[in-house]
Every structure is written in structure tokens, then in C-alpha cells.
């Protein structure tokens, strides 16, 4: 079956502009995660959605970052007033259920964001 898909694959924007990144999880997966990977760094957790529960936003680095998940499926990560330090690869992952510690997370190919 289809894996996690993300769009766009690459995004170049000017400092101060807003960007939207999209994630389509694997069908039937109720948990969805956003991570950020800066050059040469590990994966930094941003936000987690599980079904209709309130999302865990504890990893969002500032109030310029927000995300929503419509209908329990597609998710959009929005970065407002982008800064150069926002440049990174944004990865989305999904898993079957609700226990991140015990489940395989399947990652999408990521969106490479470059803020000029």
C-alpha cells in the first residue's frame, strides 16, 4: 500500500513569508507526528496527533508554528513569518495507534525548506 506522502518535496521561501507543508499519513493510521531535522542533527519532535484527542504541541519551537489535522487524516504544518533558522527538513510520520513508545513509525520523504 501507499506510504506516508508529503508535499511539496522542496520549498524555497523568503524570510517573513508563511509556508504550509502537507502530510498524508498511511490509511488507517490514527497517530501522526511531525519532526524537524536540521543539517547534521537528529530528529526533533514538533507535534503529535492521535485521533480526535487534543494534539501534543509540546515540541513546537515558537508560536509561529502551528499544525492541524482535518478529518483525522491529512495534516498541515504552517510556519508563519519564516526565519532563516527554520530551514530544515520537515518529516511527517504515522503509526497505527496511540503508543509512540511501542509502535513502528513510518516516515514520509520529508519537505526540504530553505528560507532565504
Amino acid at each position: 500500500g501507499a506510504g506516508v506522502s508529503q508535499s511539496p518535496s522542496n520549498k524555497v521561501t523568503e524570510k517573513g513569508k508563511d509556508v504550509e507543508l502537507r502530510c498524508d499519513p498511511i490509511s488507517g493510521h490514527t497517530a501522526l507526528y511531525w519532526y524537524r531535522q536540521s543539517l547534521g542533527q537528529g530528529l526533533e519532535f514538533l507535534i503529535y496527533f492521535q485521533g480526535n484527542s487534543a494534539p501534543d504541541k509540546s515540541g513546537l519551537p515558537s508560536d509561529r508554528f502551528s499544525a492541524e489535522r482535518t478529518g483525522g487524516s491529512v495534516s498541515t504544518l504552517t510556519i508563519q513569518r519564516t526565519q532563516q533558522e527554520d530551514s530544515a527538513v520537515y518529516l511527517c510520520a504515522s503509526s497505527l495507534g496511540s503508543s509512540a513508545g511501542q509502535e513502528t513509525q513510518y516516515f514520509g520523504p520529508g519537505t526540504r525548506l530553505l528560507v532565504l
Binding site: 506516508v4 507526528y33 519532526y35 542533527q41 537528529g42 530528529l43 526533533e44 519532535f45 503529535y48 492521535q50 501534543d56 509540546s58 515540541g59 518529516l91 503508543s99 509512540a100 513508545g101 511501542q102 509502535e103 513502528t104 513509525q105 513510518y106 516516515f107 514520509g108 520523504p109 520529508g110
Partner: protein, 110 residues
């Protein structure tokens, strides 16, 4: 807290073995291992859920010592395809996401 991986980088010839370690200052209930090739998404390798558990497939295996709060990934008779960055991940306190280490870069040459 972010788990600590060591070493940061390993260079091997085909057929050689390597060990990558992952340790945490907090109690661990599970450890996940992923491999990421350059420009690609991380790919799941295995999860270890129980103290003292060992798992493996093909020539890659791992152990998890809950008491020592550490896990080790063993790559035996390495192949060119093993090259990439290996990440260990542990669940955050809320159990809602994984906290990953900074990664260990493995380079295998012929």
C-alpha cells in the same frame, strides 16, 4: 531527555563488524532503531520493549538493558548497503513521540 549515541561516526570495510550504543539518563521502557540514508526518510529497523531483550534480523541485531538504561546495535559482516546514519529513539515522558539521539554515521567501503 535526548538519548546519547556513541560513537558519532564509524568507518568500516565490507565484512567488518560495528557496535553502536545508545544510553539515557532516564528510565527506558523501549528503544527504537532507525536507519536513514542520505536524502531519504528514516527507515524502521527494530523496537526493543523488554529489559534484556535481544532482537535481530539478517546480520543486524540489538540488545536492550533496561537496568543500565542502554541499548546497543550490532552490525555483523557489514555490507555496503549498511551505510547511513543510525538513530536510536526513546519515548518521551507523555508517550506521545520519540526523542531521537543525534545519530551515528556508518560508512562501509569495499
Amino acid at each position: 531527555q535526548q538519548p546519547v549515541q556513541s560513537p558519532q561516526a564509524v568507518i568500516l570495510r565490507e565484512g567488518e563488524d560495528a557496535v553502536i550504543n545508545c544510553s539515557s539518563s532516564k528510565a527506558l521502557y523501549s528503544v527504537h532503531w532507525y536507519r536513514q540514508k542520505h536524502g531519504e526518510a528514516p527507515v524502521f529497523l527494530m523496537i526493543l520493549l523488554k529489559g534484556g531483550e535481544q532482537k535481530g534480523h539478517d546480520k543486524i541485531s540489538a540488545s536492550f538493558n533496561e537496568k543500565k538504561q542502554q541499548s546497543s546495535l550490532y552490525l555483523t559482516a557489514s555490507q555496503l548497503s549498511y551505510s547511513g546514519t543510525y538513530f536510536c529513539g526513546t519515548a518521551n515522558q507523555a508517550g506521545t513521540a520519540l526523542i531521537f539521539g543525534k545519530g551515528t554515521t556508518l560508512s562501509v567501503s569495499s
